[in-house]
């Protein structure tokens, strides 16, 4: 089959040991390269842009606190997308589910203004989860009962949810809207939550290198554990883990520590990640949902109810995204701000987070933090001297490069005419190829 440029894929028969490391690194470099080309064409220096991005997003004064601030909602929307996409339920309604969560949580937060903080926090999370459940149930039920594509219905509901919260603040005298003063009537805004409805946070001294150290150790440990379990290269794994720990410990002294605020929402999100991981990995529900997603025919023969699984997965995903909205109100905003929420497009970025984490719940927090830092840096860059939009370009390029990288980890891209199809002929042809090169 002649293809453009004569490109085709060939399954790798052996996977070299360096490949699992080279693929993510290569994907990231490819994305940076694509963005670099765009930057050069439009007259910006990619190296200075990237170094500014890095310091603004990760190492600069206060960067880690902002990274957590943007990373926390992304942790929720990313986990929501990962929980659904992993089961082949394409919920792109995280955006709207987050709005509904923010709406429900701020409503409850306002209503319970005088109660102790603990009560309010729990009530806000519960209200948001309920809101997200109901909102996500719409596309879930439609998919389960009439087979309507959840992709489009969940997306359309994002616009509806955005218009709903805009209506509450800008075009009505709703419970959420602040009508107490003349200026508030002229310039619509939401009521601010009372002080004891603000979620508590702790702050610690951390240096960026320490965080890197923790991440490297975690990654190396995960990789080592997997290698250990599959009885491959057990010793090699331990050696790599040790080297990683020593190398990053050396790095840890390089950057000064700064005071970092850890919001409560981030902790809640971490617990949610672990809960989803356990639910999908260790329970009967998770197993059955995986079968429904990966092999619907097998699920049918095994008597697994597809409808219930579809609705359940959609609802779980919606609840997680909505709790992200509650954290957005309780941890950071303290007021329902439709414009602010819609400008951040946290739900869509959540899909990027999930895709980069390869839909693994435990990969989500790390990727959410990295993308949180990147998003902050991108927004701080833009202004009169720098165009906006770099954030989306970088995010999109990262996902596309990761998709390509995942495939190229299992297949190699060859040029020239592909061998004849029959299995015996493939063996022969590759033998011929080895001698003569592709014909």
């Amino acid at each position: 089959m002649r293809t453009p440029f004569g490109l085709h894929l060939e399954r790798r028969l052996t996977i070299p040991a360096w490949l699992p490391v080279a693929v993510p690194v290569g994907s990231m470099l490819a994305a940076l390269l694509i963005c670099g080309v765009i930057l050069i064409i439009t007259g910006h220096d990619p190296f200075s842009t990237y170094s500014t991005l890095f310091s603004q997003g990760f190492t600069g004064q206060g960067a880690m606190t902002s990274m957590l601030q943007t990373g926390t909602p992304l942790l929720f929307t990313g986990l929501a997308a990962a929980a659904a996409f992993r089961m082949r339920i394409f919920n792109i309604g995280g955006e709207g589910q987050l709005y509904i969560g923010a709406m429900a949580a701020s409503g409850v937060g306002l209503a319970l203004g005088g109660q102790p903080t603990g009560v309010i926090v729990v009530a806000m999370i519960a209200a948001a989860a309920l809101g997200g459940l109901l909102w996500a149930a719409i596309p879930g039920v439609l998919k389960a009962v009439t087979g309507t594509s959840e992709l489009i219905t969940s997306l359309m509901l994002n616009y509806v949810a955005g218009l709903l919260i805009t209506y509450l603040i800008y075009d009505s005298s709703s419970y959420w809207r602040d009508l107490s003063s003349f200026s508030a009537k002229q310039f619509p805004q939401g009521k601010t939550l009372s002080a004891n409805a603000g979620w508590p946070s702790t702050s610690t001294l951390l240096s960026p290198a320490t965080v890197l150290l923790i991440l490297v150790i975690a990654a190396a440990a995960a990789w080592g554990w997997r290698a250990w379990r599959s009885r491959q290269a057990g010793r090699k794994a331990i050696a790599v883990v040790l080297v990683a720990i020593v190398a990053s410990a050396a790095l840890a002294n390089a950057t000064p520590a700064q005071s970092v605020v850890l919001p409560l929402g981030f902790g809640v999100g971490l617990i949610a990640c672990i809960a989803v991981w356990v639910l999908y990995r260790e329970t009967r529900f998770g197993y059955e949902a995986r079968v429904v997603g990966d092999a619907p025919a097998a699920a049918r023969y095994a008597g697994i109810s597809q409808r219930r699984k579809i609705i359940a997965v959609m609802v779980i995903s919606g609840m997680i995204a909505a709790v992200g909205g509650a954290s957005q109100i309780g941890d950071f905003g303290h007021v329902l701000d439709p414009r602010g929420l819609q400008q951040q497009s946290l739900g869509y970025t959540g899909i990027v987070v999930a895709a980069l984490a390869r839909f693994h719940p435990l990969g989500v927090p790390v990727v959410a933090l990295v993308l949180g830092g990147l998003t902050n840096a991108g927004f701080s860059l833009q202004g009169p001297n720098f165009p906006s939009g770099l954030v989306g370009i970088l995010q999109g390029a990262l996902v596309l490069a990761t998709l390509a990288g995942t495939v190229l980890g299992q297949y190699s891209l060859r040029t020239g005419r592909r061998p004849v199809v029959e299995p015996e002929a493939i063996a022969e042809a590759s033998a011929v190829d080895a001698v003569l090169g592709p014909t």
């Binding site: 089959m1 309507t148 999109g396 199809v421």
Partner: protein, 319 residues
């Protein structure tokens, strides 16, 4: 009579539905070859910004500038579609994730907004724009005049395009090959049809039409550039292909139905119907869901018209 609400709504249905029609016809071609491209919104926005940029920077007689602008928008849309084609046809990656990534890469938070800022295009009226023309002097004719004979050139081009795509799909050998690839790539391959080439060509054609649909926004609908100005039209176009059962002629009907919906808000408001503006703005999105449910359930449960191989990569070795 021609100012009555029915005529005004019909005329604006055509006016507002045309960008959806271009984008949906493009998506239809891609999906007929088996490639689901969810990047329509991104490709439309890049088309919109590139078309507008061309009009801003090029001086010359208006028709010529506009022609070049449309070609540039089509090329830009096709260039973005090429990324998707490479990822999903050559590399056989997941089409849904790739399409979503494409929209983020090119869409309101990405490349289109970046280019708009680089070219300093925001907030200006277009130097040249498509205006409605009086065809055969019939613009004043009762009812049909404003609806059919007082539209811009792109509207008439879109009608020709519907006829061409219909003819191409159902009356030519090439169209038969395209449908074969979308239904059963293995069978098509064994007949010597180049599956990869068909998928590349039609994904690129789809991107080009999405680009033109985007340029309609920035050069005809509201002749100016605003980041994210398509406001979900690309997604409605994806939904339209499903409503239309992958038939070009039905795509036209569906596009005008949604055109009517998106203009109904202004028309009712200008007549003193007093409802919050958000209700009218939400109408197209809510009705997209309602119509989609109606189409996918009940009398058409068999997914009439959906290409059997839609969304599935073709692996020759698995044949």
């Amino acid at each position: 009579m021609n100012r009555g609400i029915v005529v005004v709504t019909l005329a604006s249905a055509v006016f507002y539905g045309t960008p959806l029609l271009f984008a949906a016809l493009g998506e239809l071609l891609a999906e007929r070859s088996g490639v689901l491209n969810l990047g329509v919104e991104g490709m439309m926005l890049v088309g919109a910004v590139c078309g507008f940029w061309t009009v801003e920077r090029l001086s010359g007689p208006s028709p010529l500038v506009l022609l070049v602008a449309i070609l540039v928008a089509a090329l830009a849309g096709a260039a973005i579609a090429l990324i998707h084609a490479f990822i999903v046809v050559t590399l056989r990656a997941n089409q849904i994730v790739s399409g979503l990534a494409l929209t983020i890469f090119a869409g309101a938070t990405g490349l289109s907004t970046y280019l708009g800022d680089v070219g300093n295009l925001g907030g200006k009226p277009a130097a040249h724009a498509f205006h409605s023309i009086d065809v055969l002097g019939l613009a004043g004719a009762p009812v049909l005049g404003p609806v059919l004979f007082h539209q811009n050139v792109l509207v008439y081009i879109s009608w020709v395009l519907v006829a061409l795509v219909s003819f191409y799909l159902f009356r030519t050998r090439q169209g038969l090959h395209l449908r074969a690839v979308g239904e059963s790539p293995a069978a098509a391959d064994s007949l010597g049809i180049n599956v990869t080439r068909q998928r590349y060509v039609h994904t690129l054609a789809g991107g080009a039409l999405a680009g033109v649909g985007g340029a309609y926004f920035s050069l005809a609908l509201t002749p100016s550039w605003l980041p994210g100005m398509t406001g979900g039209a690309g997604w409605i176009a994806v939904a339209l292909v499903i409503f239309a059962f992958w038939q070009p002629a039905l795509t036209l009907v569906g596009a005008y139905f949604f055109g009517a919906l998106s203009s109904l808000g202004f028309n009712l408001q200008s007549r003193g119907v007093n409802l919050p503006p958000e209700v009218f703005s939400a109408l197209p999105y809510v009705l997209t869901i309602v119509v989609l449910v109606a189409v996918t359930s009940g009398w058409t449960k068999r997914r009439v018209g959906a290409p059997a191989a839609l969304g599935i990569p073709y692996v020759r070795e698995d044949r």
